[in-house]
Amino acid sequence: MKRLEVLKTYKLFINGEFPRTESGRYLQLKNKSGKLIANISSASRKDFRNSVVAARNAFDNWSNRTPFNRGQIIYRIAEMLEGRKSQFVEEIMSLGISKHTALKEIDNAIDFTIYIAGWCDKYQQIISSVNPVSTSHFNFSFAEPMGVVGIISDNNSPFGFLRLMLSVIAGGNCAIVVANEKYPNVAISFSEVLQTSDLPKGVVNILTAKKNELPQHIATHLDVNAIVIATNNDKELSEIKRSSSVNVKRVISVSETELNILSPDLILSTQEIKTTWHPIGI
């Protein structure tokens, strides 16, 4: 007799744990032929707000890790991904994507992770400066993470969120990711990778939700410092920018092209520049 497969319950990833949505709602993820793949948690505003609390609490710890340590943890994420490659290939294929494409997606994701891991202890030196002021002061500027960053990933790739998220956390920020509605299973399985990579709880929180339900709540939340968004929808972007003015939130829009090139740009654009002065003299 054929063995019955044990199916996975896809939940949310908040504060290093896998809770169901407090709302009790779900979304049906179906394959191309209409067969149910999984019931996906449909995160609510409350789930999002809980994620912000988790991210804020994690910020002090994560931003104060040495850059070298952050690099090691992100490298570890790549190791975990590599080990679970076949699982991700299957999950991507279950959505009707070819094996060839699925393999390319996961390989690129792993290699991108290594690329970003290497930046952790290097970007500071390409953006900081000692400033030659005309008074008797030692004056220097360096980059610091913005804080809690909301990530909205509408782009057309199962691992698009990962590219945004890694650059954000490499710089010491904490993130709340709203996964692309089309690939929620990939995002949630990825959170299992995060959970086994020594990433402190709360640094990354991943929510699956109905498209358009959470972005406005992210934009209006007073304890979110910035939003990183990859979308082709100008109207959505405008609405987020408008609502973000409530606390002068930074809105960083990433185009499809920018998403697919290797660069430290997004690490740098989620940093603040701090300048410190001290008198020189005896």
Binding site: I273, K274, T276
Partner: protein, 485 residues
């Protein structure tokens, strides 16, 4: 309480007024558009006054929507047809020229700045004007070196920059905006603040004399409505705004459905943290400079003081003694420490907060100094026994008003310092280096002054965290605000 020094003596200073005989001001100022001074289409003018005696200095053209359209059009033409075709080095040479011409007329600018804005001549002469000239000089040199600032990138200009500046450092803010914009290859429509248009109009004269191509810089005057027309104009590619957080948020909202780039330099509520191991007299000087510099009309003013409990009594006594020596009065007198409040509405706002502070239960202290009968004035003010939830702790007053609290541990100081929506600057006073570095990291603010305060330099990036705005002005980082990378 140790005995205080008595200041009721006859040791008055003799007046030392700066001469105004050499300044050349017109009775009427027009709009500076496309290299010429032109009449406003609706022929409306407003009066600009001296806040120290409420006398009218000149009339200034009020730019209407049609005038803004003309100014933007002129900037667009200049961008497309002239400025973008001039080599980077030649662009730099124009900017160097402007820097030099400001230096040549520095004293005149200083006097006009003090006349129109109410700030002490010592400050306009030694800080505002030299820094403005230096800012042009600094960015002039960047014009032909941009590719070295951004390796692996091809930096490109943005286009027409709409720049709206405040009244607290009129010429300096104009320099902060115009210099990097031009060096990065953009053209400009600048709107000075309604109460302080004059030094910008003198700058327009210099721009004309420097032979900068027509339309590269356009200067138009008016209030909020004029500013809104610039923000909304479809041919403006970038907005740079310095002013209140309230207006900054409105601008962010207005341009949300456009691709306009934006930098905001907004309000602040800086904490000054004084530890028991700080050199006390030096710290007192720093606190005084932090809040009373430019009448406290400074976005990065150190308006909250946190003193470690063990030195509270002696520190406050010394602070009050020092406050009593401050001279409030004629901005043009070289002895003056605190000049006139910039405008009647600003004075009303300060007085409103003085009332609120007392209603909320804080104890007010004001010095015994004499203040002139005419004009707008506010005595140096201290609020003691404040608490973190008080509005005078949370909200920006923008006047010579310092609110004091105490702390016991370093963690408490950090928690309190970071506990406002703002994050522009902070001050640290301690003799211990490791403590400075610890705090410099923990304080969520864009500028940290350690054992010093209110220092500025063209090469030093300035700008805030959180609701104090985004983007940096000054230094290599200031270039990013005016380039597409």
């Amino acid at each position: 309480m140790p005995k205080s020094i008595k200041f009721k003596t006859n040791w008055d200073y003799s007046p030392a007024p700066e001469s105004t005989s050499h300044i050349r001001l017109k009775k009427k100022y027009e709009l500076f558009i496309n290299g010429k001074f032109i009449l406003p289409i609706e022929n409306k003018y407003f009066e600009t006054i001296n806040p120290a005696n409420e006398e009218v200095i000149a009339e200034v053209a009020l730019a209407s929507k049609k005038d803004i359209d003309k100014a933007v059009q002129s900037a667009k033409n200049a961008y497309e047809k002239v400025w973008s075709k001039i080599s980077p080095q030649e662009k730099g040479k124009y900017i160097f020229r402007i820097a030099r011409m400001i230096q040549e007329r520095a004293r005149e600018f200083a006097v006009v700045e003090s006349l129109n804005g109410g700030k002490p001549i010592r400050e306009s002469r030694d800080i505002d004007i030299p820094l403005a000239a230096n800012h042009f000089f600094y960015y002039a040199g960047w014009a032909d070196k941009l590719k070295y600032a951004f390796p692996n990138k091809s930096p490109k200009s943005i286009g027409v920059c709409g720049q709206i500046i405040p009244w607290n450092f009129p010429l300096l803010m104009a320099a902060w905006k115009i210099a990097p914009a031009l060096a990065c290859g953009n053209t400009v429509v600048l709107k000075p603040a309604e109460t302080t248009p004059l030094t910008a109009m003198l700058l327009a004269e210099i721009i004309q004399e420097s032979e900068l191509p027509d339309g590269v810089v356009n200067i138009v005057n008016g209030g909020g409505e004029t500013g809104a027309e610039i923000v909304k104009h479809k041919n403006v590619d970038k907005i740079a705004f310095t002013g209140s957080t309230e207006v900054g948020k409105i601008i962010q909202t207005i341009i949300a459905d456009t691709n306009k780039k934006l930098t905001l330099e907004l309000g602040g509520k800086a904490a000054q943290i004084v530890f028991d191991d700080a050199p006390i007299d030096q710290a007192v000087e720093g606190i005084i400079n932090g809040i009373f510099f430019n009448q406290g009309h400074v976005c990065c003013a150190g308006s909250r003081l946190y003193v470690q409990e063990s030195i509270y009594e002696i520190f406050i006594r010394k602070l009050i003694d020092r406050m009593e020596t401050l001279i409030v009065g004629n901005p043009l007198d070289k002895n003056t420490d605190i000049g006139a409040i910039n405008s009647k509405p600003q004075l009303d706002k300060i007085n409103y907060y003085l009332k609120i502070g007392q209603t909320e239960g804080a104890e007010i202290f004001q010095t015994n100094c004499a203040i002139p009968k005419k004009g707008y004035w506010c005595k140096p003010t201290l609020f003691l026994h404040t608490s973190q939830s008080h509005r005078i702790i949370q909200e920006e007053i923008f006047g010579p008003v310092l609110a004091v609290q105490t702390f016991r541990t370093i963690d408490e100081a950090i928690e309190k310092a970071n506990n406002t929506p703002y994050g522009l600057s902070a001050g640290i006073w301690t003799d211990k280096g490791s403590k400075i570095f610890h705090l410099a990291k923990k304080l969520r603010a864009g500028v940290i002054w350690a054992n010093t305060f209110n220092k500025f330099d063209p090469s030093s990036p300035f700008g805030g965290y959180k609701e104090s705005g985004f983007g940096r002005e000054g230094g290599i980082h200031g270039l990013t605000s005016y380039l597409n990378l």
